[in-house]
């Protein structure tokens, strides 16, 4: 099982590294999001200025020093979510090119095929989030740009929790979209489903907007969205926060539950799709 897993992992890596535009997109897209979207969509400009305004901002953003900082952490989750949307495309292309036909005719355990693709694609969805956070911090040194201000005393445990939250978020959504790749045969159906899910997942989370600004029903949905849980873990660890009802560990528990459920369902659906008809 280990050899087959490593084989799938290596093939995924080779396919990625051989397409320069694909490699470049992983570095450029998060930066573009921050430079264009982040700087243009800076709601900080709408908040009142002065000490009262600052108090209001900190209260609305639950301790984040400014909207860009609040947004940059949400953007990290958004970058990951967007990358996971493409997790199943490799399987779809393999089906169309006949590669999938050979793969499933080998004795390689189906779990190894799934796990190999899941590991690589989830990793590829998670690391640009950290690139995005790093670049957002560097913006502080660029004149004319707003940057991400994190608290000076981020603990190792806190960083570990941030890593874990991102990893869980990447794994669960990669698993879901990977299973769509196994289940579906047409690109149109695949991209139809991803378009259908993409925006609801993002906009029922607090990645971009403070939960307190949402209507009550949406606040309830947002509270349980895994993207919100991951963002809460990151913001609680990176800012001098206040107003979060739970410590990061509780949100991590919620993320574990989501990950277990979604990966379990995705594994089951993929196994069904790979069953001999």
């Amino acid at each position: 099982m280990y050899r087959e897993f490593v084989t799938v992992l290596r093939r995924e890596y080779l396919r990625w590294v051989r397409v320069p535009i694909w490699v470049a997109s992983y570095f450029v897209v998060p930066i573009l999001y921050l430079v264009l979207f982040g700087q243009a969509f800076n709601l900080n400009n709408l908040f009142p200025t002065g000490p009262a305004g600052e108090f209001y901002v900190r209260q609305a953003l639950l301790g984040a020093p400014n909207y860009f900082s609040y947004f940059a952490v949400g953007m990290a989750a958004f970058v990951t979510l967007t990358a996971t949307l493409y997790a199943g495309t490799g399987i779809l292309f393999d089906k169309q090119l006949g590669i999938h036909q050979r793969t499933v005719a080998t004795p390689a355990p189906r779990t190894a095929l799934f796990a190999g693709s899941l590991t690589f694609r989830a990793f590829m969805a998670a690391w640009p989030a950290f690139l995005s956070l790093g670049v957002a911090v560097l913006f502080l040194r660029v004149p004319g740009l707003v940057g991400l201000s994190v608290r000076s005393s981020v603990s190792a445990l806190g960083l570990g929790e941030v890593l874990l939250a991102e990893a869980l978020l990447a794994l669960m959504f990669t698993a879901v979209f990977l299973s769509f790749g196994y289940l579906l045969d047409s690109n149109e159906a695949y991209f139809g489903i991803t378009s259908l899910l993409n925006l609801p997942i993002l906009f029922t989370s607090n990645a971009m907007f403070p939960q307190s600004t949402m209507p009550a029903w949406l606040q309830n949905v947002t509270a349980y969205n895994p993207a919100s849980l991951a963002v809460n873990v990151m913001r609680e660890n990176l800012f001098n926060t206040s107003g979060y009802p739970y410590p990061p560990g509780i949100y991590l528990l919620g993320l574990f539950a989501w990950a277990a459920a979604l990966i379990g369902i995705a594994l089951y659906l993929s196994a069904r799709a790979l069953r001999v008809p």
Partner: protein, 328 residues
Amino acid sequence: MTDAIRTDALGKTYPTGTVAVKDVTLTVRPGEIFGFLGPNGAGKTTTISMLTTVLRPTSGRAEVDGIDVARYPGRVRRRIGLVFQRSTADEVLTGRENLEVAAGLYGLSPAEARPRIRELLDHLDLGDAADRRVRGYSGGMRRRLEIAAGIVHSPRILFLDEPTLGLDPQGRAEFWEFVRDLRRRQELTVFLTTHYLDEADRLADRISIIDHGQLLTTGTPGELKDRLGGDLLVVRPARAGDGIVRVLESIPGIANVDPPAPDGAYRMHVARGESMVPSVVRACDAAGIELATVSARSPSLDDVFLTMTGREYRENADALENGHTHSP
């Protein structure tokens, strides 16, 4: 010695009710090249898919290398190699990397795979192109890479599903030379489907013909042709007309005249073809029937196919050549 392949009333009915394969019983002996022939949609690919565990039989049973395909698909997969109709190589990867992936999926360690891959690449004349991306390979090179991927794990039985489809005659000849050579070196059993009957005639030790999902006959190419009885006499009248059948069947030695082929020729099986030609010419002349051609020849597999199915093989092959390659 265990049969390489043994099926007993093997069948596949799809949930829609379509019967793709019905009661196929055959045996393939170890080390032989076995040709599985049939027109487009006859059930060849369904049968090969069941034998290679890609499809589950709905009736009967099949054993490959003594192992039940339905009960132990994983064990069967380790013992077999597959060469598909179309290329399954990853074009972004090099030839060597494709083989490394294939070896890895069969559980070979890099240390086991490396010398094996080197040997295969050299043997299949791909050594110089091994580290080039497959995107730049010719059709023949891709086919050879496909074989290498099919046998990288040293299988006991190799399944070839229309492996020369789309290759030019030279490419086909080279491909089969590699297959023959591999069989000699590795004592492989080869189960092949092809729509080139001349290839099957030259290559296969034994042949089965399948049509409408049912096995029609099995034997060596020689046996199948012998079963037609002697030679084949082909008579083509200058003008179409019904009377010629009565005239021909009145000649001693001619019992049964097949319905006319699309080119207007009548075929009949006779003991000794050449000696019948003068009798045919005389009888037709006496009846006032003008003949365009009269010829006698040994039967070919095309004739076997025509006799067994009532259809010309060529029309099915043409459909395949024109890209209608689906066969359930």
